[in-house]
Structure formats: C-alpha cells, structure tokens
C-alpha cells in the first residue's frame, strides 16, 4: 500500500509538471495569437482609438480629496474632479477654465466672489452648487476629518481657528450666497489663493453624497466618489491599475477626446522601460541609467518641475553657523558636472532659491526678475578663500568632523558620494556621509540633529512665496534654523501688501538676502526626462501639483 502511495505521488507530480509545461505552451500560443488579432483589427480601423496608457508608478494611497496629500492621488483626482479653476494647456489660470465662469476680487485683495457656470453637473446627475463648495471646504477644516492639508485653507478668515477647535464652522469666511455664488474672505492678501482653487484639497464633493457615504469612506473605491472632471474612475485594481473613462456629464466634454485612460502601477524602472518599448505604455519617465538609450530619440523631452534641491546647513550650531563656511561648501560644488554626470535626468544647476518657470509679477518668470544667479558655479578659488576666512572668524585651525546626511535610496547615496568627493577635491575636507530612511532623516532635521543635509522642496502652489516663506525664523519648515530679521520683515511685508509689484520686489529682495547669507546651498532644480510616443498629442505635463493633465490629450497617427 505504502509503496503505491509513493508511486502515485510521483506520478501526480510528473503529470502536474507536464500539465504545467503544456499549459505554458498553449498559453503562449493563445497569447501571441490574440495579439496578432488585435493588431490586425486596429490596422483595418481608419481612425485612431482614443485610448492612452500611462504609468502612475504608485498605487494612490488615498483618493479622498479632503485628506489626501500625495502626488499619485492628486494625479488621479485632477482628472476626475474639477475645481473652481483649472490650469490650462500653457499653465495659465483664466476665468472659465474650471467650474467658476468668473470672479471678482475686492480692491483690498481680501474678498473673492466666485460665480459658477450654468448647467454644471455631478456624475450622479445633480447640479453642482456653491453650497457643495462651502460644505466640502468646511469638511476639510473640520478637526474630526483630521486633514493633513487643512492648512492650505489657512489663508481664509476663521479657518485656522475652526481647524484647531477654537472657532466654529460659521465663523469661517467661506459662504455660499446662493446656488451660483461663493464668497471667500481672506485674512491677508494672497495672490496664490486663486491658483489654490485648482489644487487637490480644494476639489469639492457633493454634500448629499458625502453625507451618504461618510467622510472617512470617501474615495475608498470608484463608487465612493462623485465625479465632476473630464473623466470618471471606472476601476481601481489595487497595485495593478486604474481605469478612467470619459465623463459624459463634464461641462467641457467637447474638449475631451480620450475615451479611456489606463494608469498602470509599475514601480520597477526596468520593467517600465520594457513596457514602453513593447508599446504597452505611451509615456514614461526615463530612469537615469537608461538615459543614453533614449536621449537621442525624437520621443525624448525634458520637463522641468517646480522643485529645488539644496544643501541644508545647520545655521544654528557647529561650523555652519558661519556664513563664510556655508559659502565655501556651496561654491566648491561643480553643479554642471553634478547634473550632467551624476543626476543625468535633465535637472539644471541652481544658483538661486526659486526655480525657473515660477511666475512673478505680471506672470513673467520670477527667476528672470530676481537677478539670479547669485554666485558662480564651481568657484574653487573663492570657496577656498571663504573657508580660510570662515575658519579665522571661528578661531579654528581646521574643520572638525562633519557629517552629511542624505536619504538611503540608491540615488541619494550616489548624489551624496559625488558631493563628498567634490568637497574633498576642491576644499580638501573629509565629509562623513550618513544615509538615513526618509522619515528618520526628517526627524533628524526637525530636531536639528545634523551638520548638513541633502534636502529638496516641491512647490505647494505656483508662486515664489512657497520657496521663500519657509526660511522665515519662526516657520515650522525652517529646519535650517536660518534667522535674519531683515528677511523676516520683507516676507511679512510681501504677505500683507495688496500691491503686487511691491510684493514681488520684497520677495526679490528677500531672496537676495538669503543668498548673501547663503542660508542654504542651492544645488539643482529638478527636471524629469520623458519619452512619449509620437502619436500622443497635447498630453500636458504641468510644472507642479500633478504629473500629467489628461483633459486635452488625444491620439493621432498611431495606425499609420
């Protein structure tokens, strides 16, 4: 009996094995056959199928517009929801671009009155009203919602008080005057407020729908959101893909040509590239080690984004208290070599704080108005002089041991080592690298546990202020502990004046002061290298906020 059992087991294994192998081969055949059918099918079709496939790279952690904070979620929400405004193809904000057909701003810059379009509808067929906006925005501020991005509303009167449990919802300066009119009262003039109305946290949901679903369950699946944007979310297969389809109820549906968009979730850079090469993906971000392969193709492009990277010195303790030492370390970096040979992703050398492309006064590029660059790249002689001067001022013969903290990703390790080598070569100093997991690095920065850190900052809104007010003495994000009363005053002035020209001048002056003190050591402005199939048209890649804008994209010439 026993022997038979063993033989039976062996036979089963062999059978199973052969079945498995046979399974492979039949599957292969059917796979390639269906592929052939597909291609011949599309070849006979005259017009291009309006479908697009992109890589979202991460499963959206949270599609609840009230509480979400991450890029992948904002990418999706921006396509399926509509705010009062929407940035258009060339990155401008114009009346009528979103749900508001127009707005009035009071002369003191404090009261905004938005007039909603007629005939705008939620995907459940109900009209979108100003009351939905009032309800949604106050829900974000409700302390019970515990929204991390609630502070994006702190420009509004009474918002901070309500959110911190010191005021009531009625005292918040958000009020629907009737179905079509929304009035917002700000604490102080904030030109960036208009742009914020296009931002994820400001995207509304329908009041009755939220009350039915519950705030905490909002956005947990395709049927727990009500849609108002160019697309609706049809499917969400966690860690696999999200499928969007055109929204037939969208107010501007004639501008939307794509019928279906699939957002795949592929994290591995190599796998992504293979999926681009075989035509599964229509666009991808080029990983730096594959740069050489795509760099000279017609599909290649470089897209700068509003993010700066810098060496964050500890301005409060240790040798980096001294501005000349900070200058020495900043000037001793060869940014050109760093961006071209180490990053290799199209990023550009930074010799100022505010990245190019951020609009200043009159909508012109702020980086063209501010008088940057503020120092010369790779100025080794000056760096050595500053080091000598700094050491004299500190009364030191030589530098003590210095650690340089960076993330523990392979990219950050490589970056840190390159900088370490430059400081060694140009200044003759030995810097110790300390790689830390992201949250541990942030914790160390908050506690001032560092000499210098490789850090970056992405724009919260499309205005230079997002890069400047963080270096005010009492700003929570100022973990460089930079402090200059003159700087603080200029930023405060800029934040309170309704005069936009003066505001701009104050910000320029402030940036100059910070650079003269070398509050931080600018390193590079981030850019992404992209490859896009030539048949993809008008797929907009915004400089901040989201990674793509699908509204106007279409497919043309794929089947020729």
């Amino acid at each position: 009996m026993k022997r038979k059992n063993w033989l039976a087991l062996l036979l089963t294994l062999v059978l199973a094995l052969s079945a498995l192998l046979a399974g492979c081969s039949t599957n292969n055949n059917s796979g390639s056959q269906s592929k052939n059918n597909n291609s011949s099918g599309t070849q006979t079709a005259k017009t291009d199928e309006q479908v697009l496939t992109l890589n979202l790279r991460a499963d959206p952690p949270n599609l609840n517009p009230f509480t979400t904070t991450d890029v992948a979620s904002f990418d999706v929400l921006n396509d399926v929801l509509e705010g009062l405004t929407r940035y258009d193809k060339d990155g401008q904000l114009k009346p009528g671009s979103g749900l508001a057909k127009s707005w009035d701003i009071s002369s003191d810059g404090l009261t905004y009155t938005f007039h909603l379009k007629d005939g705008i509808k939620w995907s459940d067929g109900n009209p979108i009203t100003a009351y939905d906006f009032e309800y949604s925005w106050k829900k974000v501020l409700d302390p019970k919602t515990a929204s991390q991005y609630a502070y994006q509303f702190y420009y509004i009167q009474g918002a901070e008080e309500y959110n911190s449990g010191k005021g009531s919802a009625d005292q918040v300066g958000i009020k629907a005057l009737d179905d079509k009119t929304l009035q917002v009262k700000l604490k102080a003039p904030a030109p960036q407020f208009l742009g914020l109305t296009a931002f994820g946290t400001y995207l509304p949901q329908e009041k009755s729908f939220v009350e039915k679903v519950g705030v905490d369950k909002l956005g947990s699946s395709p049927d727990t959101l009500v849609y108002s944007g160019p697309f609706v979310l049809k499917q969400w297969n966690h860690d696999q893909n999200l499928v969007l389809e055109k929204n037939p109820d969208y107010w501007d549906k004639d501008s939307v040509k794509l019928q279906k968009v699939t957002l795949l979730i592929i994290k591995d850079a190599n796998t992504q590239a293979q999926n681009y090469d075989n035509g599964t993906l229509d666009q991808m971000r080029v990983p730096s080690d594959l740069m050489d392969k795509y760099k000279n193709t017609k599909e290649f492009s470089i897209k700068p984004v509003a993010t700066n990277w810098y060496i964050q010195f500890n301005d409060k303790k240790g040798v980096f208290k001294n501005a000349n030492i900070r200058k020495a370390f900043t000037l001793a970096i060869d940014r050109k070599a760093f961006t071209e040979q180490v990053l290799k992703d199209g990023s550009i050398p930074a010799e100022s704080i505010v990245p190019p492309g951020v609009p200043g006064y009159n909508g012109e590029d702020f980086s063209k108005q501010d008088g940057s660059p503020f120092f010369k790249d790779n100025d080794v002689q000056a760096a050595k002089d500053y080091l000598k001067k700094g050491l004299e001022e500190l009364g030191l013969k030589e530098l003590p041991a210095i650690t340089f903290t960076a993330d523990d990703t392979s990219g950050a390790k490589k970056d840190a080592e390159a900088l370490q080598q430059m400081w060694n070569q140009n200044l003759g100093v030995n810097v110790q690298i300390k790689n830390e997991a992201f949250k541990i690095r942030l914790d160390d920065m908050n506690k001032g546990n560092f000499d210098m850190v490789l850090a970056g900052w992405g724009a919260d809104y499309n205005d230079p202020m997002t890069f400047l007010d963080m270096w005010e003495t009492n700003n929570g994000n100022n973990t460089a502990f930079y402090s200059n009363p003159e700087y603080d005053k200029l930023i405060d002035d800029a934040k309170s004046t309704p005069d936009l020209k003066k505001r701009n001048d104050d910000m320029i002056q402030a940036e100059k002061i910070a650079m003269n003190d070398m509050a931080i050591g600018p390193l590079y402005f981030q850019a992404y290298a992209l490859v896009t199939k030539s048949y993809v048209k008008d797929l907009v890649v915004p400089t901040f906020g989201t990674e793509f804008e699908l509204k106007w994209a279409y497919i043309e010439g794929k089947n020729q």
Partner: protein, 309 residues
C-alpha cells in the same frame, strides 16, 4: 495526539502574543511617526491626526486598544492608506502572493527533489555536476537578476510571455520560475546530502539482498528516510514565500503583499507593520505545526516518541 495539538495551539498563541508585543514596542522606537512629512504641519493639525488614530494616548494605552481590537479580529486602519483597513489590504493582496508562492514552491520542490535524488544516485557523474551548477546559480545569483534576465529574454525578445502584470496564468509563469530557483537550490543540495547518508546505510544493503527492485529501494527506503530534513526546512520556506516577496513582486508589478512588509516600515504605518507581522507569524507557526504532523506521517518513530511522553 489531541492533547499534543491543544498544547501546541496554546504555545502558538503565546508565541504570537510575544511577537506582537515586541513588534509593537520596537516599532514605536523608530524616530518619527506615521505623520512625519516633508511639509511641516501646524501643531493643531498634527494633534487632530494623532487624536483621530489614538496616537496621542500613552503607549501602553495604545497597546491595550490594539490588543482589544485584535481580539475582535480588527487589525485597524492603515496609517498610509487612510481609507483602507489592514484586513482589506491583506485580503486583497495575499491571494496573488499565495498563488505565486505555491507555484514557485511546487516548481522548486519537484525539480529540487529530482535533481537532488539524481545527483546522489549518479554521484560524481554529469547529473551531479549539472545539479551542482544549478544550485550554485540559484544560491549565488539574486532572484531579481534571474527575473530580469527571464523578462528580457522570454518577454521582451521572444515575446512569449507578458513583461509584467497580473491576471491570467500566463502572467504567473516568469515570476514563479524566478522565485523557484532559491528553493530548488536549497532542496536539491539538501536532498543530495541526506540521500548520500542513507545510501551507505546497512538497511539499503538488506533491501538489495532481499531482492527489491531498484525503484522500490529508492522510493521506499532511500527517499522516505532522506526527505526528513527537506520537510523541516520546507515549513519556514513556505511561510516566507507565500506571504509575498518584495523584489519579485515589484519587478513583475504583481499586486501582492510583499511590498507591505517593507514599505510599511519606511512609512511607519504602525497598524500595517503589525498586521503583516501577525499574518506572517500565524502562517509560520501553523507551518511548523504542519511540519510536525508531517514528521509523524512520514516517520512512525516520531509518533511513538511523542506517545511515550
């Protein structure tokens, strides 16, 4: 047998409780918290968030909450995926990892045993060297390299199989093969060694003298005695593989549980860290129990020893 099982079950519960407790207090020692973020949040907002998820309470109170919820089968809400519960995430991600794990273990065990047995029988011959070669590759080449090579060759160049994704059986083939190499190597080496031990035993000579056929000797006397060490490693190996593998799942974009083991620690997603740890420990402990039972089935002496206690 029943007594033994009850005793084992109680030990299992205690083990898991110790693991939970250690994990709970260790993970709270990592600097930062789930809501540490690049953009500094005003203190009142932080307070709102901590309060909502009971993180503002003393640690021991949080521990009490956690155990209480756990008793009711509630693993809590993920602190990264704010509108998903840990139960949901595990339920949604575990099947893919499980299927992949079972398939790769199956491949690894079948081929591993085969190569191990053949190598021992033909010791010093071509098969022996071939199986050694395979085992060295399987052990020394990380599976992500094997995965990438398979992907490049079979999917990108020959276009026989999909590059990545999940859905039907064809998506599972490459990752299963890539994942099976390590198992295959361990098992074939182990099987070879223990087969060689057995081959030299007197009872094999006796069996031969009795006039049993070669196949009977191999199956009844050699394999059955030699397989014990393999069964021992198979328990933990199985638990480790079916709960998900970070790298292979990432390379093939498989919606499995593997990434949550790693990513939850980076995110300091406390409930997810505990959830994955508990899930893994339960499978591991159960597998150890199954292995013990299997001993008894394969080798009657094990059962006798326990009965005598």
């Amino acid at each position: 047998m029943l007594n033994y099982s009850i005793k084992r079950f109680v030990y299992m519960l205690i083990t898991i409780w110790v693991i939970i407790t250690l994990t709970f207090f260790l993970m709270h020692m990592i600097p930062g918290d789930p809501f540490t973020s690049e953009k500094k949040v005003p203190p009142q907002i932080r307070q709102n968030m901590l309060a909502k998820y009971h993180l503002d309470k003393p640690l021991i109170v949080q521990y009490g909450y956690y155990l209480d919820n756990l008793m009711h089968g509630d693993l809590g809400i993920s602190l990264k995926y704010l509108n998903r519960t840990v139960d949901d995430i595990i339920k949604q991600s575990a099947p893919a990892s499980f299927q992949l794990g079972v398939q790769s273990i199956f491949l690894g065990v079948v081929f591993g045993l085969f190569f191990g047995i053949v190598a021992a029988l033909k010791r010093g011959g071509g098969w022996d060297y071939f199986s050694m070669f395979l085992a060295i590759i399987g052990i020394s080449v990380p599976n992500f390299i094997i995965a990438t090579l398979l992907q490049l060759l079979l999917a990108s160049k020959l276009k026989l199989l999909p590059v990545s994704g999940w859905g039907s059986f064809k998506y599972t083939i490459l990752p299963s093969i890539a994942l099976s190499f390590a198992t295959l190597s361990i098992i074939s080496r182990m099987m070879r060694t223990s087969m060689l031990d057995v081959i030299g035993q007197d009872y094999i000579k006796t069996a031969k003298a009795k006039g049993l056929s070669q196949l009977q000797i191999i199956w009844k006397h050699m394999v059955r005695n030699a397989i014990m060490p393999v069964v021992t490693v198979l328990g933990p190996l199985f638990a480790g593989i079916v709960t998900g593998t970070f790298v292979i799942e990432q390379i093939f974009s498989i919606p499995g549980l593997g990434k949550f083991f790693v990513q939850s620690i980076y995110d300091e997603d406390y409930s997810m860290i505990l959830g994955t740890t508990i899930f893994y420990s339960i499978i591991l402990v159960v597998m150890m129990f199954v292995v013990d039972i299997a001993y008894g089935l394969i080798d009657p002496r094990v059962r006798l020893a326990k009965g005598g206690k």
